[in-house]
Symmetry: C2
Subunit: 194 residues, 2 copies
Amino acid sequence: MSKKDDILKSAITLFADRGFQDASMTEVAKMAGVSGATVFYHFKSKEALFLIALETVKDGIIKEFDHYLSEHDFESGIELAEGIISFYLYLAGTMEEWFLLLHSHYPYKLALVNKECRSHLEKIYNSLVDIFERAVALGREDGSINAGDTRKTALVIFSMVDGVVRFKIYNLYDTGALFNELINSCRKILKYKT
Amino acid sequence: MSKKDDILKSAITLFADRGFQDASMTEVAKMAGVSGATVFYHFKSKEALFLIALETVKDGIIKEFDHYLSEHDFESGIELAEGIISFYLYLAGTMEEWFLLLHSHYPYKLALVNKECRSHLEKIYNSLVDIFERAVALGREDGSINAGDTRKTALVIFSMVDGVVRFKIYNLYDTGALFNELINSCRKILKYKT
DNA sequence: AAAAAAACTGACTGACCAATCAGTAGTGTT
DNA sequence: AACACTACTGATTGGTCAGTCAGTTTTTTT
């Protein structure tokens, strides 16, 4: 792995763990084992480094979901939906850094004034909601899902799952104990007519 | 309102809007219309000010819910649950600062090393989940709710509602358009047997 | 009105941090 | 070996910030 990659990896860890403002470029450099000036040689500013970190997270999430969906077969829309939910929770456990970064306030503040940041966030959330939406649409075709508006149903399911992820990464509740209840709740939302 | 109150009010606004690290004591002082040193006269450190801000939010949320519940009558457990959800979303709209503060990363990081912070957060979340749980328990008694485990059902509903609130305060989706879908989804989760 | 206590302030300090720059080391090309 | 180019660094700078302190103003008490 190149030093540039080391820096990027350290940056993701530190931005996730401490937030943008509280993670210093000196710390990033130290963690990556390079001098402070080297960080600025590879990334022109702290904000630029953050944007590339966010882009890396974006690409990672999309790639992981593509891989998961291509490797598994599902018998119905509702099974696909349950698979996606399980994988989302699994990913939030193994790649906690990504989700901490996405749950921090900074990117959403930056998005208000920075087009690139806004674009990354939109891409991430649209991709995720699209994945949920496709499952709902499939289920409505095969009869396993009877919920009303496809997009809105996908959004509510996504809100719920992401809400549980937030509880997990902020150490508020034990998500493991909640998994079955979450799947059951989603099943009810999807199965029954609105 | 005393200057101490002015300072506290400004602190809540700035901590919510910029996060702990990015809100400076000088800015708090400026917004409150006092000198920088006055802030330190009333609050011994930035962290102490944050803790009192968090405590104020805690008291505010609990008081608002107490007031709402004492002023309204509900015919069944499920109606109570729907009322609570509506009021939670309403509060997140009118008192956005409180929820921004609760959705920032800092208090949860601080809670790992600071007992008082941990205590405030536990009080807030336990109070809120208890409110949801009482509605579920009531509904199970009067037959309007048939979901399984009371506590876990309350937790999942709370996750979902708080997830939608996060989308709202981070400007990700229009929550207004999602309100009916959210209420319908909750109804399904609560109404049907697990 | 005098004394005491509380509220408040301007000026300052030491620490930290993002960013710069001049220069050095390494790597490949001719 | 000379050249060019990329990767990297130590030292420095200008700015910001939390927190302190000595001293002033305001309020309360006697």
